[in-house]
């Protein structure tokens, strides 16, 4: 035993899926095992600051198993059955298989809604408490607890050893990453940690592409907002504040994936992010190559959002007139269409139209940070126009 002072939360989160796996292998059902491990985690945060066990995983397994037995006892009324369970734990299948990977698949099971899958993944694979997940998603803890227990009931009939689809897991992790940073739990960092785990356990080019995409965007985070919380657009970011080690890692992960010649949308998106990362100054961005990657992305996804972003890239590569021509083929009802159009009109020198479109874009902005940013753009041009 050693005195730790504070609980090593990272260690607790790391151990969570393995401990759930041990309980499931001993014959516990997933839902009860997951609850028992959650209770053990809570107990660890209370007792470890005074006495950190020498074998943290062993401690968690012992405590979680005891919690599982308690829960089981309260459910089973007859002593007979109680005694049967309390006997030596059944050996279960060999523990060589990867429990964490199986938990990934279970928590991203296609029968779950994306929101439920994200919450369940954060708890069972990520080892976060319900309170932390609730805080990160800005909902009451009771609501999040219900969401998680409903998700667990939904997957109750799924066999733990079934193989799963890594694409569903990637979608869940991408969603978690995009929630970003709202409280004391950093969902972006958590998504990166989990994607790393997934990539190391079941390599796939697209999983590597997703990891690279996350690393390259995370690298920009210190430059993306001002101290007052306002947004700094990519072209205006102080690139000396980008995290070069994250960029180097992201580029290396991406190059290894691209070398295997199985392109997918996450790899193409990461390639675009890598080209931005590669430019020491915004003016040195290789927009021609970026347009090439948007063409690939459009071929892979046929997504209208990609077509919108491509129009901006075309505007940078071939001039605003070409960008506006590309934009003309995009549905004007798309979110951020007005903002893209405003930007291209300003570059084309049509300031009155740009000001009006920025004001429109601000009204339809999907969040306050973007609204403030777009309102400032309208105001900036308005000031120029008023002379």
């Amino acid at each position: 035993m050693s005195r730790a002072g504070v609980v090593d939360e990272a260690l607790l989160r790391e151990l969570t899926p393995a401990v759930i796996g041990v309980l499931v292998r001993r014959g516990a059902d997933f839902a009860t095992a997951e609850d028992a491990v959650q209770e053990a985690l809570v107990q660890a945060t209370v007792t470890w600051p005074d006495r950190r066990p020498a074998d943290p995983k062993g401690w968690l397994v012992t405590v979680a198993w005891r919690k599982f037995l308690d829960a089981h006892r309260s459910e089973v009324s007859r002593r007979e059955r109680e005694q049967r369970v309390e006997a030596e734990p059944p050996p279960g299948p060999a523990a060589s298989a990867d429990d964490t990977l199986r938990l990934f698949f279970l928590c991203a099971h296609p029968s779950l809604t994306p929101t439920s899958a994200a919450a369940l993944t954060l708890r069972a694979v990520g080892g976060l408490t319900t309170a932390q997940i609730a805080q990160a998603y800005l909902v009451p803890e009771a609501t999040m607890a219900q969401r998680i227990s409903r998700a667990k009931r939904t997957v109750a009939g799924v066999r733990f050893d079934q193989p799963g689809d890594p694409a569903t897991v990637r979608r869940v992790l991408y969603l978690v990453f995009n929630e970003g940073y709202t409280g004391d739990v950093d969902l972006a960092a958590e998504a990166i940690r989990l994607t790393r785990q997934l990539a190391s356990r079941a390599y796939a080019e697209e999983t590597a592409g997703l990891l690279a995409l996350m690393l390259l965007h995370h690298a920009r985070r210190p430059a993306r907002t001002r101290p007052d919380g306002s947004l700094v657009p990519l072209a205006e970011q102080d690139r000396s504040r980008w995290d070069t080690s994250l960029i180097a890692e992201g580029v290396a992960v991406l190059q290894a994936a691209l070398g295997r010649d199985r392109l997918g949308e996450f790899q193409a998106q990461a390639a675009i992010a890598a080209l931005h990362a590669d430019a020491p100054r915004a003016e040195e961005t290789d927009w021609v190559q970026i347009v090439g990657w948007y063409d690939e992305l459009l071929r892979l996804t046929a997504s209208p959002v990609v077509a919108l972003n491509r129009a901006i890239a075309v505007g940078e590569a071939d001039g605003p007139a070409a960008g506006l021509a590309a934009l003309a083929a995009v549905d004007p009802g798309l979110p951020r269409y007005s903002a893209a159009s405003a930007y291209l009109h300003e570059k084309a020198g049509d300031l009155p139209t740009a000001a009006r479109l920025y004001a429109d874009a601000a009204r339809s902005a999907p969040n306050l940070a973007e609204r403030h940013h777009l309102t400032r753009q309208a105001a900036r041009i308005g000031q120029v126009l008023r002379g």
């Binding site: 920025y358 004001a359 105001a379």
Partner: protein
């Protein structure tokens, strides 16, 4: 303590004293306004009177039930006539007077020319729980 809802309107409230719309302010005036709002919320958190605050998009739709087995009916958006709520803040304060005082401060947020907007905010008391002691 009693909870109050402070409602800010896009439309439907009487005209403010300083009604110049935000996209016609200078960038600095916008900055000062945003800072004032953020400071206000932070200060209420500090005094233990802040509960929640959210902003709403200007677009909305009316929806109603249309009978068994039929999809709900939607109507609108009523672009020109509907009262449009822009956002809210919920506060939990000792008295109605304190709620008035805070609403006044929020309405003094700077706008065009750095002058207070004097915006009309709607102050609505929550219906609370019945008290335990009734006699």
């Amino acid at each position: 303590m009693a909870k109050y809802l402070l409602l800010k309107h896009y439309r439907g409230a009487p005209e403010a004293v300083n009604p110049v719309p935000m996209d016609q302010w200078s960038p600095q005036e916008i900055q000062d306004h945003i800072l004032y709002m953020a400071d206000f919320a932070t200060r209420l958190e500090g005094t233990g009177e802040y509960v929640d605050g959210q902003a709403l998009a200007p677009e909305g739709t009316f929806v109603r039930y249309d009978g068994e087995g039929r999809p709900p009916v939607t109507d609108g958006p009523f672009a020109e006539t509907k009262d449009l709520i822009a956002g809210w803040m919920v506060i939990d304060v000792d008295s109605y007077e304190r709620a008035l005082e805070l609403a006044g401060e929020l309405s003094a947020a700077p706008g065009a020319g750095g002058e207070p907007i004097h915006e009309w905010l709607e102050l609505r008391p929550f219906l609370g729980h019945p008290p335990t002691v009734t006699e």
